[in-house]
Amino acid sequence: MYTFSSKLKTFSLILMVVGAIGIGIGFWSAPKTIEEVETILSADSHGHHAEATHEAHATHDAHATHDEHAAHATEATHDTEHKAHLEHVLHQLQNKPWAAFYVACIFFMLISLGAFVFNAIQYAAQAGWSPILFRVMEGISAYLLPGSVIFFGVLVLSGLHFNHLFVWMDPEVVANDHLIQGKSGYLNVPFFLGRAAIFLLLWNFFRFKIRKNSLALENSDDASIYKSIFKLSATFLVIFIVTESIMSWDWIMSVDPHWYSTLFGWYVFASFFVSAITTIALVTIYLKSKGYLEQVNTSHIHDLAKFMFGLSIFWTYLWFSQFMLIWYSDIPEEVTYFVTRIEHYKLPFFGMLVMNFVFPLLILVNTDFKRLSWIIVTAGTVILMGHYIDFYNMIMPATVGDQWFIGLPEVSAVLFFLGLFIFVVFTALTKAPLVAKGNPLMEESKHFHY
């Protein structure tokens, strides 16, 4: 049995507290009125990405202040064009803490979902090498429940107009936008939240059932339990690939409701799947370094590293396929997606390519390197940061535009969810022995050697 070291527990709690404070400051310091935006813009004229440090109103209700601002706008005697610009920037700045929270929230939730998918694939494929890592995967996928509750909360708040993450939720915007009107049969709040609820419930249901059966297998060698896990996994994978595709349109692509891409679901999947496998490798290496998981040898690590390597390239393949097809044909309604990213997000947009492709390609191509913990930890850290930036690049351009900056709200949100993630995952790991008994392939897995 694993015991959650008090040091790590304290660390995760500190992360959560620091993150929560940072998130609070982020919301508190977001501008509430056009006047504030004006002072920020004039203060920032030397460098437009500097952090806004100004006094904000005491109220935290972004929606209420938005109305207040709308009232202001009618009274204002400014040049209308200038005012429209300020209003635009105000929305972007008000979106910043929300978008920062949203990116970190969906990123960590999808990591745990990815770990669960990997677990299901291992069951369905009857892999002989991985059963020794099943408890680690189950621990990571334990975050799915709290993660999806928070995530659904954010979606509900968006649906209730507490923020402007999804422009198609704004009736004013839809009224003037024929393109969104044409999509309103799909993009409307009740249907959107209903879909989200169904997907999250389905995923959590399968994760709950498989975990339950996996624990039941612990105290019996009844093959029927193993078979039922196999069937559940296979069913889940079919459901997953459908829901994952729709999920990526809903939660990520719909922040740009004028744009669409057919391979987007796969692209999102590759991104969080490689992050999930990286997380599995990192948690495994951590547990092994603490003396748990004695039977995990360098061959297991090597296999995980191969997955990290291969899927990093798979992600790049999809990234490039999406980018190159749109770049090549250069159709205006599609290409704006990349034009805004290359114009305003040059460093993150191409930087993630270095972090997610070039670095893992060069470091993980070597067989000997794939067996060294410190190499995996280094590569894994870079890959995880790179895929955070990937999600950042998917959400931010549509929500905060050129007002982006990886500052306090973004870092705090990541720290908060990292702390929560560590806390939930390692708490879950203490709930069951780290080596799952009863799995018919466990013996093979213990002696796995590559």
């Binding site: 490039f320 980018f323 190159m324 770049w327 250069d330 191509v365 067989t367």
Partner: protein, 174 residues
């Protein structure tokens, strides 16, 4: 100076592995082992140095990448920077995405083919090459270990018979 070798023949790969380990422990020099199929772990048991063909392949891949990059840059950007359907042929980086498929395939082509050719050359394989198996049964169901005779011949033969060999022959090599 005699060029005598002993051929110890086995009919099971597990027995062969065991015999290889014993022979190495007894400090007899194994000239060669002939097997009908790859025996997992045999190279390690024999103490053979790991292959460097993957390193060679990586370098070949880099060569291919360099060649195709240079080729595309020369043709599309330097030699005749024509406007083809509005593609930006001003600099290599401007038109890079269009070149990537070619650069990728070129890298794979060089890495794969030159590695295969390297393998053929290093293992001395080519058409019309004289086959070298000392016993035709080694391509079917027998395993043969060849050990050079340097000291006591009788002792070596009896040692090999003790390792489970189904047949031990002393052969004069030319």
């Amino acid at each position: 100076m005699s060029n005598k070798v002993v051929h110890a023949i086995y009919n099971d790969d597990d027995v062969l592995m065991d015999a290889v380990k014993k022979t190495r422990a007894a400090h007899h020099h194994i000239e060669e082992v002939y097997t009908p199929f790859p025996v997992h772990g045999l190279d390690k048991a024999m103490g053979l140095a790991p292959t460097r063909i993957a390193i060679a392949s990586f370098l070949y891949g880099l060569t291919g990448l360099a060649i195709y990059t240079t080729l595309l840059n020369y043709i599309m950007i330097n030699d005749w920077p024509q406007d083809i359907g509005g593609k930006p042929s001003f600099s290599f980086i401007d038109n890079l995405p269009a070149f990537v498929p070619v650069m990728f395939e070129g890298t794979v082509f060089f890495a794969a083919h030159l590695m295969v050719i390297t393998f053929y050359m290093r293992s001395k394989l080519w058409p019309f090459k004289q086959a070298e198996n000392p016993d035709v049964r080694t391509t079917d169901d027998h395993f043969l270990m060849e050990i050079g005779v340097h000291g006591n011949e009788e002792e070596l033969v009896s040692f090999l018979q003790g390792t489970g060999a189904v047949e031990v022959k002393v052969i004069e090599k030319h």
